[in-house]
């Protein structure tokens, strides 16, 4: 056995805290999308989101809670779960042989807004001493390394909603460079009034009030997406090192990874005033997403025909859905591979989109593909074999996970079934 294998999982998601809770909910089609409760969303056109029902005290000591935003707490809880799942006590491991690469996109924005309000309404001396370590993007990597005594390479990657995959790709690279264990994945908690207001300004969120008709990727009724808070953490180990320590079980291998970037929309300066962050229009985009997928397949040494399921990025805007559908059909042929988007049950989790990797690994473990919720009528021209309503039984040996980030990021990962020590279903 060689390569980088996933030996532990942790999930803090809107439809389930704990890997098995999340997985049950996902297979049963239980959604975590509900009216926002973290603050009064009545003034906003977007009132639905995926919030995490989460008892931070159960996972995180007071001193860590006080100086962290929820973005870090979600990752911290998921990391505690992932270590337990991997049968590992980091305190018993050599400190320099454990590292952290996690993704983040919007920082500790609830904490940040609270302290900005203190500053602007009361003055500089009212700003918490914790603000400096709670808000900044790298906070989660620092806190995880401290909490678990991990002294290997540690940093945060950001590529908007593609970051969760990029972090895992980076972690795999660190394993190849000699760090045998990496904690990786991603988390985000963009749901604060100012975070929501700025997301609304992109014009990409769904303003529907009916949770079952709001975020509908690939549907003819696609009208935007809903955001969610959440985190997913994977313990990634060098396969030989995992074997040597007597790993209880392996979920799978991170077999291939690649990232590409979309060039500007035209040959001149990128877009008029706002086009830079408008939904990229129609053409020109899918070749780079497809290329990311092709490179990931090549990296994994598998052909399109070997892929048993695609976990789609599933943005939920017609043009972007169409582009992704085209990339998938170009690669796999029309209805050539089952495609699913369980994130319809959580909302888009930004850096927390590493959750799709967890889901893919659980699909491998249990031989079942979770459904895409709420989508009823696929948009014309999206010739995909979408897994709708019900989970679908299927042996999964290789899964392709796609993610895109606003601004032009495309990432793809191939996860493959373990060759030995496979996990059995719980």
């Amino acid at each position: 056995m060689t390569g980088a294998v996933v030996t532990g999982l942790g999930v803090a998601s809107p439809n389930g805290v704990g890997t098995e809770e999340y997985w049950r909910a996902t297979l049963e089609g239980r959604s975590g999308i509900r009216p926002i409760r973290l603050f009064d969303a009545a003034p906003y056109p977007v009132r639905l989101a995926g919030e995490v029902d989460f008892d931070a005290e159960a996972y995180i000591p007071g001193k860590f809670r006080a100086q962290t935003d929820q973005m870090t707490q979600l990752a911290m809880a998921a990391t505690v779960m992932a270590f337990a799942d991997a049968g590992l006590d980091p305190a018993g491991m050599p400190a320099f042989e454990m590292g952290v690469t996690v993704a983040n996109s919007s920082g500790g924005i609830m904490f940040g807004q609270r302290e900005l309000q203190q500053l602007w309404s009361q003055g500089p001396t009212y700003v918490s001493a914790y603000m400096s370590v709670a808000w900044f993007y790298a906070s989660t990597a620092g806190q995880l390394s401290i909490r678990h005594g991990m002294k290997g390479p540690a940093l945060v990657l950001a590529s908007e909603q593609a970051g969760g995959l990029d972090a895992v790709g980076h972690a795999r690279r660190q394993i190849r460079c000699g760090t045998p264990l990496m904690v990786t994945g991603g988390s985000d908690a963009s749901l604060a009034p100012v975070g929501l207001a700025f997301q609304i300004a992109t014009g990409m969120l769904s303003t529907r009030r009916d949770p079952s008709r709001a975020y509908l990727p690939f549907d003819r009724d696609a009208n935007g997406y809903l955001p969610g808070n959440g985190g997913a953490i994977l313990v990634l180990e060098d396969a030989d090192a995992a074997e040597a320590r007597g790993v209880p079980g392996v979920y799978g291998e991170i077999a291939g990874y690649a990232a590409t970037f979309d060039p500007p929309l035209d040959d001149g300066e990128p877009g008029p005033d706002t086009a830079a962050y408008d939904p990229p229009r129609g053409s020109g985009r899918s070749p780079r997403l497809r290329r990311a997928a092709e490179l990931a397949l090549a990296d994994a040494g598998v052909a399109p025909g070997d892929i048993d399921v695609v976990f789609a990025d599933a943005w939920g805007l017609p043009a972007l859905d169409w582009e992704e559908a085209r990339a998938i059909t170009e690669l796999f042929g029309p209805r050539g591979v089952p495609v699913t988007a369980p994130k319809t049950m959580t909302g888009r989790l930004y850096a927390g989109a590493a959750l799709d990797l967890v889901t893919a690994l659980l699909s491998i473990r249990d031989g079942v593909i979770p459904p895409t919720l709420n989508v009823t009528e696929p948009a014309p021209g999206t010739d995909l074999d979408l897994v709708l309503r019900e989970p679908r039984r299927r042996t999964v040996r290789h899964a392709l996970v796609l993610a895109r980030g606003l601004g032009g990021f495309n990432s793809a990962i191939v996860v493959s079934a373990p060759t030995t020590h496979a996990r059995s279903s719980t």
Partner: protein, 416 residues
């Protein structure tokens, strides 16, 4: 291989002005002019005199981009021109790894002030949010701007690791070139932290110097009386290119990244243990990767932030990693001149190393009139020192407990 360089730093914009500041030992610290700093404990900083129009940014770019993004754009344009890389590279094998600790926080705060009615409203009014406000809270938007400027279609990402972001971003770029993922990486870092909220954060930590009456003497790395950092701002962009690729197109190779490593102290988000164990480990690992022994190191570009704890921590780490050689190797902190620009500084310091190698002059530690007896290395006080340097080490340490080290070497050694 580093084949292009662009710098925006306090004291002057462009690589040339940057090097003049450093080699002259000039301090760019002054009372803050960017906003009214009167209510703050620390009211001095190293500011960049920056006029977007004069630096060639279009009105559109100036309006859309945060100050950190504007710095990055100016730096990437200089680096691209400097490298002559345009049209010689397969865009699908051209990527970006940009460091930033706090992203577009200047505009984020301005937009927050607008939508919250100057901090009055918790439920901010989304109708006042400009269409591009969202990129101000997502640090990756800075990489997007740089990638557009360079017309990349390969891997693009922001690396964020607090004050070592710049070092780690370049380190990541080098890894991608080494393992064949990319032929050329546009890398470096940017930050523009001179804003009310960041100043307030550092006030609350008592991490900045309260020496408001002596701006030029504010940052005093390794000095007996040092009492905190002076914030700075700026950006550096480097073109990192695979050796054969650079050789084929006849690029002017400025320097080579020989080794890099990062570690975490797993101890504290802001505190440092005086033993410097983890930074020493990062240095050791970077030297091992570079196949460079401590006796070969000819200059150490220090983190040298000028806080009580950092300068001790760092001195211990360098001694621990380089042994007795530490006493013979000149080591200086350019933060004494251009301040601490958080995530950007690591990349700016790499630029300083490249220029040190090219020019055979070691920049000094300004303001070092009276050395702390506990900081007992050769810190090149006050005046630049002409000295041939083929192999240099640059180190960084930051919030989150991140510790990073990079070894750079003169290019012609390898070619010979």
């Amino acid at each position: 291989m580093i084949t292009g360089l662009g710098v925006v730093a306090p004291g002057g914009i462009g690589t040339k002005a940057f090097w003049e500041t450093l080699s002259a030992g000039r301090t760019a610290t002054r009372p803050i002019t960017l906003f009214d700093a009167e209510p703050f404990r620390c009211r001095i900083a190293a500011e960049v005199d920056f006029d977007p129009a004069r630096e060639g940014l279009s009105p559109k770019e100036a309006r859309r981009l945060d100050r950190a993004g504007q710095f990055a754009l100016v730096a990437v344009r200089e680096a691209l021109a400097d490298s002559g890389i345009a049209d010689t590279v397969d865009r699908t094998r051209l990527g970006v790894s940009l460091g930033s600790a706090i992203g577009s926080s200047t505009r984020m705060e301005e937009e927050y002030v607008a939508v919250s009615d100057r901090g009055r409203d918790w439920l901010v009014d989304h109708r006042f949010a400009v269409p591009y406000s969202y990129p101000y809270i997502t640090v990756s938007s800075l990489a997007t701007e740089v990638a557009w400027a360079a017309r990349c279609e390969g891997p693009v990402v922001v690396v964020s690791a607090g004050c070592t972001s710049g070092l780690d971003a370049v380190g990541h770029a080098v890894q991608l070139v080494e393992d064949g993922t990319a032929d050329v990486m546009i890398t470096g870092a940017t930050d523009a932290p001179l804003t009310p909220i960041t100043l307030a954060c550092f006030d609350a930590l008592k991490a900045t110097t309260p020496r408001n009456d002596d701006p030029a003497g504010g940052c005093r790395p390794f000095h007996r009386d040092r009492n905190g950092i002076v914030l700075g701002e700026g950006a550096t962009v480097l073109v990192v290119e695979e050796y054969e690729h650079a050789r084929r197109r006849g690029a002017d190779i400025r320097a080579e990244v020989l080794g890099y490593a990062n570690r975490a102290n797993a101890y504290h988000m802001t505190g440092l243990r005086p033993d410097g164990l983890e930074l020493a480990e990062a240095i050791r690992a970077a030297l091992a990767k570079a196949e460079v022994s401590p006796s070969d190191v000819q200059y150490v570009n220090a983190h040298g932030s000028g806080t009580r704890q950092n300068d001790l921590h760092e001195t211990s780490a360098v001694k621990r990693a380089l042994g007795a050689h530490a006493y013979d190797i000149p080591m200086s902190s350019i933060k004494s001149m251009i301040g601490h620009s958080l995530g950007a500084i690591g990349a700016i310091e790499i630029a300083a190393c490249v220029l040190t190698i090219r020019n055979g002059v070691i920049p000094p530690t300004a303001n070092l009139t009276e050395q702390d007896p506990q900081c007992d290395l050769d810190y090149v006080p006050l005046v630049a020192r002409p000295q041939r340097t083929d192999t240099v080490l640059t180190i960084g340490s930051g919030f989150g407990g991140f510790q990073s080290a990079m070894v750079l070497g003169a290019a012609d050694l390898e070619a010979a």
